[in-house]
């Protein structure tokens, strides 16, 4: 039996424990200033550049004894969930990774860097960035990203397979027709004991390749005001048709769903349209893979249409120490760091580094055709700047494109269905593209 006194005491203890628990769970985890030092947070996903980043941060802190950098490492697949959770909790990291695909999506969190970029234009070497890269750093004429790396869509080809077929390597003047002609000569059907060769790959499951064709045919995804999807335009349908007919008419690509796993790496696919520069290191680890790159073949409207996607850093709108964070951004994107990134297989975002690389290609592995790598920049476009672009493309449009390549829909039906679904989505949820 408990006395009334003990009962009250028990309730008091329970109450105190509960209050302590709530306090502990809800206490702020914002980094506090350490002995007068400015603490800035940087969220970055785990990548092969981790050791480079850690070395650079150590050097930065040595040069700036009043600044401490706290890196929040996140697996790439969880990056945006972690970022948004931190933002929802009022703890948006001071500096964060952003890039072309995510630029519009992360726009509500980004500070306008224009005043800082213009003030320090000489120090950061603004003119040293390729004009196309400078354009990709901006949105509506304002700077939001300082780049570290870039991906450029290219035509990749297996030189050994071209030699074996007695074909000249792709030229910068190539068009879709040349791609088809070469692809047909390179295609060798599978037989017993021979897995065969496909002349050209077809990237399935994302927009990279089919959006390139749509743009090269003169089409696009959104109307200029961003309020309407125009994937049902004749130009867009021309691009979709070429994407489909690579397998259904020209037979240079595997049918839908049959793309050989790692086909380009194991010599079962002779050409790869669009690709990604992140794979260069992997390709160069395959001993017998003799490969190079060329400009993307031109479509019926123009050669322009491939993707230029920068990867870099942005400053949080709620940053507590903007000058200290800006100093870190400048430090992490200075030429010395970019040279390290390029040495590890990346593409230079700075013209001076690219030109030095082209002047002295000694010791350089594949690709050899750096003129094509940097020449393709002129024909590249950023991803359409819509905050919901990724969701719209992957969740609304891509399933219709999947059905097209599997023979369930014609290009016309695909364009019409995709545009209708996107327009319903835009009318309900998405704000128009700025």
């Amino acid at each position: 039996m408990l006395t009334r006194h003990r009962e009250l005491l028990l309730w008091l203890v329970i109450g105190l424990l509960a209050a302590a628990g709530f306090w502990w769970a809800g206490r702020s985890r914002a980094p506090a200033a350490e002995e007068g030092r400015k603490v800035i947070t940087w969220i970055v996903f785990i990548s092969p550049l981790r050791d480079l980043y850690e070395q650079q941060i150590a050097e930065f802190e040595r040069q700036h004894p009043d600044i401490t950098v706290r890196i929040i490492w996140v697996p790439q697949s969880e990056y945006h969930m972690k970022f948004k959770t931190l933002a929802a909790a009022g703890q948006t990291p001071d500096m964060f990774y952003s890039g072309d695909v995510w630029l519009s999506y992360l726009m509500p969190f980004m500070a306008d860097l224009s005043p800082l970029v213009k003030r320090d234009a000489g120090e950061i070497g603004l003119d040293d960035y390729f004009p196309e890269i400078r354009a990709a750093m901006q949105h509506a004429g304002r700077y939001y990203v300082v780049p570290e790396a870039v991906n450029i869509s290219l035509l990749y080809y297996n030189r050994r397979l071209f030699r074996a077929a007695g074909l000249a390597e792709p030229s910068p003047e190539w068009t879709w027709d040349d791609l088809v002609r070469a692809g047909q000569k390179l295609t060798r059907p599978a037989t017993a004991g021979d897995p065969g060769v496909w002349g050209c790959s077809r990237m399935e499951g994302w927009w990279g390749e089919w959006l390139t064709y749509i743009r090269q045919a003169g089409g696009t995804v959104f109307s200029p005001d961003g309020r309407r999807c125009v994937l049902d335009s004749p130009e867009a349908i021309t691009g979709l048709r070429f994407y489909l007919e690579k397998s259904s008419k020209y037979h240079i690509s595997a049918p839908g769903g049959h793309e050989p796993l790692n086909g380009f790496v194991n010599g079962r696919v002779a050409m790869l349209v669009v690709g990604h520069v992140n794979f260069w290191l992997n390709y160069n680890q395959v001993p017998d893979l003799d490969w190079d790159v060329q400009l993307l073949p031109a479509g019926p409207h123009s050669r322009t249409g491939g993707e230029v996607a920068i990867a870099g850093y942005s400053l949080s709108r709620t940053c507590r120490h903007p000058e200290a964070t800006w100093a870190l951004m400048k430090f992490m994107t200075r030429p010395e760091v970019i040279r390290h990134v390029v040495a590890r297989g990346g593409v230079a975002v700075r013209r001076s580094i690219a030109e030095a690389e082209m002047r002295d290609p000694r010791g350089r592995s594949h690709p050899q055709n750096l003129a094509a790598v940097y020449g393709q920049l002129r024909y590249s476009l950023p991803i359409p700047r819509h905050p919901n672009f990724i969701e719209i493309m992957l969740q609304v449009v891509q399933p219709e494109v999947d059905r097209m390549i599997l023979g369930e829909l014609s290009p016309e039906e695909t364009g019409r269905r995709a545009a209708g679904a996107v327009n319903a989505y835009l009318a309900t949820f998405a704000p128009p593209a700025p």
């Binding site: 969930m81 499951g205 891509q398």
Partner: protein
């Protein structure tokens, strides 16, 4: 009254933390999600009340909603009966007297303790269009196998086949039920000339019907909530989860993507409440129909 005070106190002392946990971490989030289902909410900006727009969009315009409902219902209609039948069949075999019975029970249960994602990754390699084990075997017989995992026609059947791999839990429950059937009834039926099928039909099935009913109800609920299987299936192939062409876009996966990939928390909440209503309805229906065939021995 006074004599009940200590009992009341002890009740709150022991049940209180659990009830507080339920109220705080289950009931409150549920009610919050009901409110959010009428809002547009992206986690960062404050929730904005939009009335029934989430529900209207889901039911009339969302290109993914009805395909995900269809995928889930087809999966439930095919997988649940197959899974229950397989579990019952194996349980009947493992209930027979004989040497090594314990070993085989362990063998059949083992797949259930494997992580779903690991099993799916292995099966995806088996079903791979180019170089997969199944298509290599078919090629030996001169048959060109389809692109099992990347074909909208075959992807769902493949997932159903993969899901049947782990029927260990319903099997154990069936085994428990089978062991409660009195042996005398079988002996009496045997003496009266009843064959194996008649004994199963008229003795086993009625007496294990509560267990069968439990497995059916849990199987339906489990099938309607499938998520990890479909997520791992897409991830193992490096595809967008739910592909190809939404052929494996389960309702649970669609809900997860709306909430945690695209941060449409209001839309996802509306989806969760629709699913809750459907599960409630189907469970009620199950209980109504169960009255006709479940025997509780009273």
């Amino acid at each position: 009254m006074n004599s009940r005070r200590p009992e009341t106190l002890w009740f709150w002392l022991f049940a209180g933390p659990a009830l507080a946990g339920f109220a705080l971490f289950s009931l409150w989030p549920m009610l919050e999600s009901l409110w959010l289902s009428f809002c547009q909410y992206d986690v960062v900006a404050p929730a904005r009340f939009i009335g029934l727009r989430n529900y209207v969009y889901l039911l009339t315009s969302d290109p993914a909603f009805w395909p995900s409902v269809k995928v889930t219902l087809v999966f439930t209609a095919v997988q649940m009966p197959l899974s229950v039948a397989a579990a019952l069949g194996v349980a009947l075999l493992l209930n027979q007297p004989g040497r090594g019975r314990g070993f085989w029970r362990a063998v059949y249960f083992l797949p259930s303790i494997l992580p779903q994602a690991a099993s799916v990754a292995v099966f995806v390699y088996i079903f791979q269009a180019d170089g997969g084990l199944l298509n290599r075997l078919l090629a030996l017989g001169g048959v060109t196998g389809p692109a099992w995992t990347s074909s909208p026609v075959w992807a769902l059947p493949v997932l159903i086949a993969i899901s049947l791999w782990g029927f260990g839990y319903p099997m154990v429950i069936f085994l428990g039920g089978l062991q409660t059937v009195p042996r005398e009834l079988y002996e009496a039926a045997h003496i009266d000339g009843a064959g194996a099928w008649a004994r199963f039909r008229h003795i086993t099935l009625p007496l294990i019907s509560p267990v069968l009913f439990f497995n059916v109800v849990m199987g339906v609920i489990g099938a309607l909530k499938v998520f990890d299987l479909a997520y791992a299936f897409g991830a193992a192939q490096g595809l967008i989860p739910g592909g190809p062409a939404r052929a494996t876009l389960f309702y649970g996966l669609n809900l997860y993507q709306q909430a945690f990939t695209y941060f449409h928390m209001g839309l996802a909440s509306a989806m969760a409440w629709i699913l809750f209503a459907v599960i409630l309805l189907l469970t009620w229906l199950n209980f109504r129909l169960g009255r006709r065939w479940v025997h509780y021995g009273d």
